[in-house]
């Protein structure tokens, strides 16, 4: 492994590495000014991107959210909070919110638990560990759209292998992607299948825990479970925090798999007619799918902008809560606070 072992104290935002060497005041200001120029010069492409492709669009989206913009008539009409009240009155909106809430609350913790369990298994220094790791990671390389299509066929209620196996064990055989009650659990299996990166991040976290800690605990007679709770969990908390953030981003932007699975399931012949986003029966109408539908199928840019403003506020709230709470439960080993 050629992983760079960084000292554990090097956090992304440590305060003491931006300082300039102690020289006389004037010399320092000359260097500081030169460094500022150099820094901004190297940042020019990125700064251009942030201003043109991020900052301006955010401001414009917030402005559009108060208009009836449809992409054609410019300037659009100011409608105040109409888009927002329209959303709150819309049945589809609340379906999308409920689906996304279900999705986030279930898929993120389950994903973290599965990834951590697999990482712990891989961490046991087994023979062929590299092979096992490769096989567990491999599905994450499958393009999302492809994963959606493959799973629609695996979970196909007519002759799909999953239901054949379930039937063999006399278990219930749901309709999966063609039945509203089991489409979201089907999606959950897709996201678990592609859990590889989360697992690798956990594995790296586990491997960075000093073995002495476990040895000391073993001498003190701590049982496996206590060692997990009192050593693994606190030592792994930065990794857990990182994966939680990534999981949240992933859950809110889960999109291609949904479209792939519902399109493929729709064409298995079990249902007729062209595909409708959110099929079956709006059970996979996640918030991202709903926003896409409003923006790029109906071209209701104003309404879509209002939807994305709300999403952004919710994401910001989640992120703020996570970063705030991190001070309480994320523990950086070897660092004083």
């Amino acid at each position: 492994m050629t992983v760079e072992r960084r000292p554990l104290s090097s956090r992304p935002f440590s305060r003491n590495d931006a300082g300039v060497s102690r020289k006389t005041g004037r010399r320092r200001s000359v260097i500081a000014r030169r460094n500022l120029r150099t820094g901004l010069l190297f940042l020019t492409p990125w700064l251009t991107g942030v201003l043109v492709l991020q900052l301006y669009p955010i401001v414009a989206t917030f402005a559009y959210s108060f208009t009836d913009y449809n992409g054609l008539t410019f300037p659009p009409h100011w409608v105040g909070f109409k888009n927002f009240s329209q959303a709150f009155a819309s049945e589809d909106f609340w379906t999308a919110v409920r689906n996304t809430l279900w999705w986030t609350v279930i898929s993120v913790p389950v994903g973290l638990a599965v990834a951590l369990a697999l990482a712990s298994l891989l961490n046991r220094k087994l023979r062929w560990g590299g092979l096992f790791r490769t096989l567990l990671y491999l599905p994450s390389m499958v393009p999302f759209i492809g994963a959606g299509i493959v799973f629609a066929w695996l979970f196909n209620p007519v002759g799909g292998p999953v239901n054949v196996i379930l039937g063999f064990f006399h278990l219930p055989q749901p309709g999966w992607f063609i039945s509203p009650g089991s489409a979201k659990p089907g999606l959950l299996f897709i996201s678990l299948w592609e859990i590889g990166p989360t697992m690798i991040i956990f594995l790296a976290g586990l491997q960075s825990i000093p073995a002495e800690l476990y040895e000391a605990a073993a001498i003190d007679g701590a049982k496996t479970w206590r060692r997990f709770l009192n050593i693994t969990v606190p030592m792994l908390s930065p990794t857990l925090f990182f994966n939680l953030i990534l999981g949240m981003i992933g859950a809110f932007s889960f999109f291609a798999q949904v479209l792939g699975a519902s399109a493929a399931a729709n064409n298995t012949g079990s249902q007729t007619g062209s595909m409708h986003l959110g099929d079956p029966n709006n059970s996979t109408l996640l918030y991202a799918v709903y926003v896409y539908q409003q923006m790029f199928q109906n071209f209701s840019f104003g309404y879509g902008a209002a939807l994305s403003v709300m999403l952004t506020l919710v994401v910001a709230l989640f992120a703020a809560i996570l970063f705030r709470s991190a001070r309480r439960w994320v523990f950086y080993y070897g660092e004083e606070h």
Partner: protein
């Protein structure tokens, strides 16, 4: 493993129960792993074999776990089917992926250099902006971006997918910056004393030192752009310009159950390049993911 064997042999009266227990402790994790791995491998196995099964056997019961007859018919037919356009889409995808990989890696490394090797006022605040853009939902920027590209006359071309990579990508910047922070400033300082300017330090000292991280960044950029479904879906309205990810989606929508063999074959062909990339670059990918987790 050796430790466990030793442990059991030192027990004074080795009972049979003890032996069973110790075997279980050695074999147990393997058993669990094999059971855990099966669902991860099976879908790929299923997809891989479906390519070579006759289409009639795919929707039939009892299920064919292993192909009874192998055929190349699905592959042949797919390339002849009207609307599969797979070669054209592969060409578009290759162009986009190469452009994005090169552009993202270079432009992001410039920003990462500033964030890691140069100290200036406001640097940390600007770096927080990188993190914010990483977390920001795509939706809150997509409409004005769409309009901007329309105003530039880029809709219907590949440019909305390629040119934005010239300004760098927050994830790549983050990854490269994490690595470059580990490069001692003294390397650059020494070159500066020898008369090198800032750009020469970046080009001759930092980039060669960070080449393993650059390789990781390039692989990630390639995978990400190959995988991208959303951006092509929004911007590509001319079928000639479709990427493979969009092409397979369209193919699924146009073809139903009778063509299941072709749909799965198409999917398998779209999946294969990334599996090949993984086979070649596995170590970089795995180590690169570790690099991203921040401490």
């Amino acid at each position: 493993m050796a430790g466990i064997v030793e442990q059991t042999s030192t027990i004074s009266r080795p009972s049979r129960l003890c032996a069973v227990r110790s075997t279980l402790r050695v074999v147990g994790p393997y058993l669990v792993l094999v059971l855990a791995i099966a669902p991860f491998v099976f879908p790929l196995y299923w997809l891989g074999t479906a390519v070579f099964k006759p289409s009639s056997s795919l929707l039939q019961l009892p299920i064919e776990w292993w192909p009874k007859t192998w055929t190349m018919k699905n592959l042949n037919e797919l390339f002849q089917t009207q609307g599969s356009n797979i070669l054209q889409y592969a060409k578009n995808t290759a162009y986009i992926c190469l452009f994005v990989t090169v552009a993202t890696t270079i432009s992001s490394s410039l920003a990462a250099y500033a964030f890691s090797q140069v100290s200036f006022r406001g640097r940390d605040a600007l770096f927080w902006t990188v993190i914010v853009t990483l977390i920001l939902p795509t939706w809150v920027t997509i409409v004005p971006q769409y309009e901007l590209y329309r105003w530039l006359g880029w809709l219907g071309t590949l440019r909305p997918l390629t040119w934005p990579s010239l300004v760098g990508d927050p994830f790549t910047i983050f990854l490269l910056r994490q690595y470059m922070r580990g490069i001692p400033r003294e390397l650059g300082e020494a070159a500066r004393i020898d008369g090198a300017n800032e750009f020469q330090i970046y080009l001759r000292i930092i980039l060669p030192t960070a080449r393993s991280a650059l390789a990781v960044a390039a692989v990630f950029a390639f995978v990400q752009s190959y995988n991208d479904f959303f951006t092509p879906l929004v911007y590509l309205n001319n079928e000639q310009n479709y990427t493979l990810a969009l092409g397979v989606y369209q193919f699924v929508q146009l073809h139903g159950a009778p063509d299941v063999a072709q749909i799965l074959t198409y999917t398998a062909l779209v999946v294969t390049p990334l599996i090949v990339v993984f086979a070649i670059a596995q170590r970089w990918i795995v180590n690169g993911i570790r690099l991203t987790s921040w401490k």
